[in-house]
């Protein structure tokens, strides 16, 4: 399965993938590159991955989700390469017969992705600097591009 792509993410395609006559509820999640005031003029993020492991890890996360929510239909894409501010870096869609399961399963996927996916991001700023992002709170400058 190809979960990784350098193309812009289209949620409609994922929704079409998970749609099924018996699934009445679909929950989707989009993670987008922020450029809030505290984000210091981030213009784009460059995502890179340990590709083979990221694909394998997503396969495992999807399989675990299907084991916990047996009727769930799941689609996931993670974008790599340059992603502009306000574009999506991840898209997840989960369809289930009942809505509570769709929310729970979709949430499970994104939480596991955050914990386990071997993906890194370098924030590119308007002033030409770049920083590797450490979500645990220790950014490290890598100097002007």
């Amino acid at each position: 399965m190809n979960y990784l792509t350098t193309a812009p993410l289209a949620l409609e395609a994922l929704l079409a993938e998970v749609s099924a006559p018996h699934c009445g509820g679909t929950c989707a999640f989009l993670g987008t590159v922020r450029d809030g005031p505290e984000d210091g003029g981030v213009t784009a993020i460059e995502y890179s991955a340990y590709d083979a492991m990221a694909e394998a890890e997503l396969d495992r996360i999807v399989a675990e989700t299907r084991r916990q929510w047996v009727d769930a239909r799941i689609a996931v894409r993670h974008r790599l390469g340059l992603v502009a501010a306000e574009e999506a870096s991840i898209a997840i869609a989960v369809a289930t017969p009942h809505r509570a399961d769709a929310f729970a399963a979709c949430r499970y996927v994104i939480e596991e992705v955050k914990k386990r996916l071997p993906v890194w991001k370098k924030e590119l700023r308007a002033d030409g600097t770049a920083t590797w992002v450490d979500p645990s709170g220790h950014p490290s400058m890598v100097g002007p591009q």
Binding site: Y50, A52, L117
Partner: protein, 78 residues
């Protein structure tokens, strides 16, 4: 075979390399040798996040012949 990613590749000055270590050995044992072998690698943390053959492992995991060990900076996917 050892692979370095993202910031660790920049620190180590390489994205991969090959090491020979006496078995039995753990990921920690290999880490010591990595830091001694490549100059920039001494700047790597002593206990980084590691993956063996595409799976997350603890640093006390056993290494086998032909394994692919990867050192992973703090994850930032999603």
């Amino acid at each position: 075979r050892v692979r370095f990613f993202a910031r660790y590749a920049e620190l180590a000055g390489r994205s991969e390399g090959t090491l020979t270590v006496p078995l039995p050995a753990t990921v920690s044992d290999v880490m010591k040798q990595i830091r001694a072998t490549w100059p920039g690698a001494s700047a790597l943390p002593a206990q980084p996040l590691a993956a063996l053959n595409l799976r997350h492992v603890r640093l006390d995991a056993r290494i086998s012949d032909g394994d692919e060990l990867a050192l992973l900076p703090p994850l930032a996917g999603g």
